[in-house]
Structures are given as C-alpha cells and as structure tokens.
Amino acid sequence: MTVRSEIVEQFTQVALEQDMQLAPLTDNLELLESGLDSLCFAVVVARLESLLGVDPFSVSEDARFPVTFGEFVKFYEEATR
C-alpha cells in the first residue's frame, strides 16, 4: 500500500466510524473542509502512526502544518522517506 492509499483509507474509515460526511479527497481540498473535525484528525494521525511508524506532526517544529489534503499526503510522504 502506498502512503497515499493508506491515508485515504484512514480518512474514509474514521469518517465512517464518526458518522461524518467526507468530501471527495482531492489534492486541493482544504483539510478543514474535508468534513473531519479535530478529533477525527487526531484519530487519523494516531492510526497512521501505528501503520506507518511516523507522526510528522510531532516532529515538525519548523515546517508549516499542512492545509490541503495534497499537502497532508506530502507531509507523510516526506516523513516516511
């Protein structure tokens, strides 16, 4: 599984569990428009950490947080490289 497909799966799974309406996950989609709230993001990030072994949010003291879905994927791709 690629990093991207793993991320898509977690977004989808968490939205389903939390009964949230997920927007189509295009690269330009703003994360805050995705339909997930902070708690959902927190769960996605926790699960990705156990699946991919990294949590780029905990180590990025200087890099800006991602704003779009595309940036979110890139954030993880760079961290797993």
């Binding site: 569990e17 708690l39 927190a42 003291e61 947080f65």
Partner: protein, 468 residues
C-alpha cells in the same frame, strides 16, 4: 494582594466604570451589540429584576445570549449557574437540585414536556429592550461553574466575581486598542476569563458562533481586527491547518487548558512572528495561576515563588495553589464540600516533573485524560465498556497525540467464554466502540481498543493505573 473592596460588585457596575465605551462591542456571527447597550438593555424583555435574589440557571444555545444574561443578572440573582452547551440533558435535574435553582433563563424550546421542574422559566433572546431603570442595589452574586465529575453528573464549583477576576488588571492603559476573542466557550472557566477581561476593562469581544466553522470564525476575527485571542493548543493546531489562519493578525496569543508543547509554541511563533505568545496555567478550582512568556514549554522554577498574588508549592509530585482566585467550594444542595485543604491550598492534581531547571506538566494524578482541553475520567468510560456482555474488565488510559494532546485508548479483558470462541476480534472491537458511541461524547470514545489477557490489580483490589 488586592483588597476585596477593589473588586466591582457586579459586571454592569464594572462596565459603567470602565470609561468610554464608544465603539466597543460584543459580537458573534449574527449579532453585534455595543457595550453601552449591553449595560442599558435587557435580553429578558425588561423582566430581569423579577429574578432578584434567586438561584438562576443560564441555559442558552449560543454564547452571546449567555453574555447578555450574565451582564443583566450579575448583581441581581443570588446565584448564576453557567450551563455549558454540551451538558447532557439527563444531568440537568442533578444540577438543578445541587444548585437549588429557582429559575431557568433559556432560549431553548426543544424540551417540550421534558422541561425540568423549577419555579420560573424566563425566556431570553437576542432582542434587546431598555432595562427598567435602576433596580435595588446590587448584591454579590455567586457564580457556579460546571466541571466534569468522575462518573456521571458534573461537579458544581462556586466562585465569585472577585475570585474569577483576580488575574484581570482593570484600568489598563487608556486608549490602548484591545479587541478580545477566544476559541473557548465563555460558559467554561477558560472562556469566562476572556469574557470577564473584556467586560471588566470595557473592551470589545468577538465570540464564536455555536456551529460556526473554524475558517469562518477566523475570517471574522481578522475582519474585526482582533488583537488578543485565546484557545487551547488543540484549537490553535486546528486554526493553523486552515488557510484562514493567514487572515488574522493578533498581537497577543494565549494558550491554556492543555499542556502547551514546544511544537505548537514554535509553530505559532513562526506563523505569527509579531505576536506575543503566552501559555497560562489555570483550572476551574484553582483559578488562574500564572502565564509563561518565554516561548518555551514548561515553566521556569522561579514561577513557583515569584508569581504575584499566587502561592504555589509542589507536594507529592503535584502542583498546589493558594490564592484569592481559588474557588470557594463544591456545591451539593445544602452541603458544601471543601476544595482547599486546611492551609487553604488547592491540589490541582496536575503532576510536575523537574528537568534541566524547568518544570513540566506530565499528566494527571487522578488519571484524568485531557482531550483537547476536555476532561475524560477513565472510570466513566470503563463503566460503559464493562457493560458490554463479552467484557470482563477494562482499563482506560491516555495516549499522547500531536493533534489533540491526548486520546483515550482502552485495554480490554474479555470473558473466558468469548476468548475461546475465537470470534472476529476486529468485529468485537467495532461493537465495543459502537457501544461507547451510543452513550459517550465523541471525545470520550476510545480511539483504539486492545484485547489483553489480563490487567494488573493492586493489593487494594483496584486497577493499577500509570498516569504519567
């Protein structure tokens, strides 16, 4: 130390004494009201005085209606009970009984025949009418804040306007342009501090609408020129994940309600290089203790003995606080339970660790999990999980999280019969989670369920909990 007579008798009195209110306002996404009107008008159809001397529960759908009511009834009611927006309805009767509520002020119409039994129900709204002249002299009103209990109903914490406003410098430099805003709800301690800062110093306040998306709120905060804004680290992480964060330009950013880690402090500094960034420690029971301004996580050891008006000590690894900002007591009908020990100190229950001459918060003594500023008592979640027919016992614990500070996870021991059935573990996990979702607020639902063969039990017969 501030003398008691320095503190205003009521919010209205303080606002009237705050000087020139021209151009100052309180606003949410729908309404904008001048502070002058706030003092002169009534959101209760001019009937506020009918509630004189009563214990009043303020239960509104949005923050601004609560703000109107608090300004109008402080100094009139004997007691104001602030009902947070997410209080489960099933706990209302217990809150009403504990605070001996005489009257409910509300804009809610969704109760039907389930409306709790009280002597008076007074509707409030966004329509302001002139207040009916000067009533009787103001009395000092008790302010009751709700905080989560170990299991079930919330605890009622008794404050006064004086204890709540102990950290607020009144008579700040005239002419200094300050517009406050907060991600918090003003019906909880963190948000109430910002509401009172604005009202007691006669400054504008921008409130978040009840269902307003973060991006829209940030847009308004930018448009209205907010200079001072507060929130939890989790609020700020969410804000920084929005392109709308670039619309705001605060001079002062205040974090509280959760441990502020170095990552969020650095992120905020890099995004808002011109803003002063402070992280503060406060709790509903102990009040505001101190703010840290040096941009680093944790706090310097000097804070303990060099904070004006607040005495602090570390005992049994937790932080204890004594000040005039401490709450008076917990309230339960006729009985009052002490918050302070015999020496007048409040045990915050927050555990402290010393590393390289700096103190750091490392968790809660009672195992309470702080999910984005909201408290979760493990026992409450365990109680729900343990009701599942296939669960023998469970242990709910904290898992560090870079978005919300912490998340809830559960270790679950299954009944012997279930174990031997070798049923689909994933399906059972989902079932247990679904069980939790049906009764618990979403932040209390475990983000993961792990099946374990056993849990450690201490000699006392209690589960062994590791909190740090």
């Amino acid at each position: 130390m501030k003398k008691p007579h320095d503190s205003p008798v009521s919010l209205s009195e303080a606002l009237k004494a705050a000087g020139d209110l021209t151009g100052c306002f309180i606003a949410d996404g729908q309404a904008r009201v001048s502070l002058g009107d706030l003092v002169a008008c009534s959101a209760l159809d001019g009937r506020g005085d009918e509630l004189r001397g009563m214990s009043v529960l303020v239960m509104t759908t949005d923050q601004i209606s609560a703000a109107f009511t608090l300004c109008e009834l402080d100094g009139v009611a004997s007691r104001l009970v602030l009902c947070p927006p997410d209080l489960p309805q099933e706990y209302l009767p217990s809150v009403i009984a504990s605070a001996q509520v005489d009257a409910i002020v509300t804009d809610r119409t969704d109760f039907g025949s389930d409306f709790p039994a009280v002597r008076y129900v007074m509707p409030c709204g966004r329509e302001l009418v002139p207040r009916a002249g000067e009533g009787s002299p103001a009395q000092r009103t008790e302010w009751i804040l709700l905080t989560s209990g170990t299991s079930g109903p919330p605890k009622l914490v008794v404050h006064t306007l004086s204890s709540l406003s102990g950290a607020i410098q009144r008579g700040a430099a005239a002419g200094e342009r300050v517009i406050w805003s907060t991600f918090y709800d003003i019906r909880r301690y963190g948000g109430l501090q910002i509401f009172l800062r604005a009202m007691l110093t006669g400054r504008s306040l921008v409130l978040k609408g009840q269902v307003e998306p973060t991006a829209a709120f940030l847009g308004r905060v930018g448009e209205l020129g907010v200079t001072h804004i507060s929130g939890t680290p989790s609020h700020w992480r969410r804000a920084l994940m929005s392109s709308a964060a670039s619309l705001i330009d605060p001079e002062y950013i205040r974090l509280s309600g959760e441990i502020a880690d170095q990552t969020i402090l650095n992120q905020l500094h890099s995004f808002f290089p011109n803003a002063r960034i402070a992280h503060a420690f406060a709790s509903t029971e102990a009040g505001v203790a101190f703010a840290v301004n040096d941009g680093a996580a944790g706090f310097p050891t000097s804070v303990l003995d060099q904070t004006a008006d607040v005495e602090m000590k570390i005992e049994n690894r937790t932080l204890w606080i004594r000040s005039t900002r401490n709450a008076t007591c917990y309230l339960n009908g006729e009985t009052q339970r002490a918050i302070r020990n015999a020496e007048g100190f409040v045990d915050t229950g927050d555990m402290i660790e010393l590393r390289d001459d700096r103190f750091y918060f490392v968790g809660r003594e009672d195992g309470v999990i702080n999910v984005g500023g909201q408290k979760v008592h493990p026992e409450e979640v365990e109680g729900v999980i343990n009701r599942h027919p296939e669960v023998e016992m469970s242990l709910v614990r904290t898992k560090k999280n870079s978005i919300m500070g912490a998340l809830v996870v559960a270790d679950v021991v299954l009944k012997a019969a279930s174990e031997s059935m070798e049923r689909d573990a994933r399906k059972l996990q989902q079932e247990i989670l679904q069980f939790c979702r049906e009764t618990l607020s979403s932040y209390k639902v475990p983000s993961a369920v792990y099946f374990v063969p056993s849990l450690a039990i201490a000699e006392s017969g209690k589960l062994v909990r590791r909190h740090a």
